[in-house]
Subunit: 262 residues, 2 copies
């Protein structure tokens, strides 16, 4: 499940490796992931040149010189490699110089060709605390207006972009916030701490090349490992020694220290 750190890492590498390449074709074996039929998709990209590759939230954006772009979302456990053959890989984006991107979707994923002024999901993404300059004040004001559960809010891509159900556990633990706290009942102090911990955790993960079970475009693993409460049900809280619990929070699972997180 690649989240913001992995996507940021991939975008950086792709920006270096792909800029100025010319697109040739796409071959695809998972129809549902494309927003256009393969023929139309091919016609749209052929001959286009890549300007840069950036990211927002969990989305990759391959910007073309024409201002059209390709939006990629790896969904749950998707992978993307540069010029490497894996039997299971099901989508190939080939460049004129014979290099290619090989993309594998473990479950669902998206590769969208988007025209210059076309409306797209990426337009509706919320705050990206890493790629954008969001002040602590803005963040706190923004969150304290919502009356839903803080966890749901943080995972809602239209509100806060990039956090998924992997990094969230340690972020909330570090901020000492229970996932089921209603956002508008959390003190400014705690929300400010939350803001800092989000940036801290995500930046730390980025600097380590992402999580240790995700790979970059050269198939190199990252080194970050969730190591506080995430997936540590039954173990002891590193701060207070309470037993870490696994609880249901709406449609997702959460790992928490019932003592530290309020």
């Amino acid at each position: 499940m690649p989240e913001l750190p992995e996507i940021v890492h991939l975008a950086k590498q792709m920006d270096v490796e792909l800029s100025n390449k010319e697109l040739l074709s796409i071959s695809n074996y998972q129809e549902k992931s494309l927003n256009l039929d393969i023929e139309h998709f091919n016609n749209s990209i052929k001959g286009q040149k890549i300007e840069s590759v950036i990211s927002k939230g969990k989305w990759l954006k391959i910007c073309l010189k024409s201002k059209d772009y390709i939006a990629i979302n790896l969904g749950m456990g998707g992978e993307i490699y540069l010029s490497m053959n894996h039997a299971k890989l099901n989508t190939k984006i080939v460049f004129k110089d014979d290099t290619y991107l090989a993309i594998s979707f473990w479950w669902f994923g998206h590769i969208h060709f988007v025209k210059k002024d076309e409306k797209h999901t990426m337009d509706d993404l919320g705050l990206d605390l890493i790629n954008e300059d969001v002040s602590s004040h803005t963040f706190v004001q923004y969150l304290s207006q919502s009356r839903g559960y803080i966890k749901n809010l943080l995972l809602n891509q239209k509100k806060i972009a990039g956090i998924g159900n992997y990094y969230i556990h340690d972020i909330l633990f570090l901020a000492k916030i229970h996932p089921l706290r209603k956002a508008n009942t959390i003190s400014e102090i705690k929300l400010t701490a939350l803001y800092q911990k989000i940036i801290e955790v995500l930046k730390d993960a980025i600097s380590q090349g992402g999580s240790d079970y995700e790979q970059d475009i050269f198939a190199k693993k990252g080194h970050y490992s969730a190591n506080l409460v995430a997936y540590k049900e039954g173990k002891n809280c590193p701060v207070c020694q309470s037993v870490i619990k696994k609880i249901k929070t709406s449609s997702t699972t959460s790992y928490i220290c019932p003592t530290c997180q309020t």
Copy 2:
């Protein structure tokens, strides 16, 4: 809280008494209940002649010969009388022959002037099992598609029009359905029983001139009284002697027999 039976009764009387009368003016002391300012409202109705009065769900519809109409919703506990003065009455609709309707709103209520082709809430009302010819089959199919609580569904005017939180208790009791059953989990047999009980209860109430704490346009009380489980918390179920309970169901209160209703 006038519901379908009271409204049907009022509509019948109003149809007899008001047809062919010519409208003169409206004077109003509860601004919020009108959809137009008093001046505009007066200009709209003056000189118009009444064609008929009908009802749908909890709404009264005074049809004018021009095909414009006046839509009235008595809200919670509203009253409407013909040519009677009550100190508390706050809206008067006067006819050219000096008779008038006196309308009192206890809390919120609506008097809307609607142009011939204008869109109005009444257009979106759901099935009215009394004023319309709805087959048992249609009703059962319709309800079994919803996954929400059966009570919420029955009270939702856009789905089923006319039932409110007075008649609903005995209807569900007679159909042996718990208010919190998900609609799509209820057997066809029970839904068919529900269909019959709704019609039975509402028609019975209509034949008795509505509930015994509502009055008609001549200030005459009805004779129907909810007498099974409604408002009988702590008493015994007339069928199985279990203690009747008062429970919260979403935003409304329900009276049920916890044994009979499943």
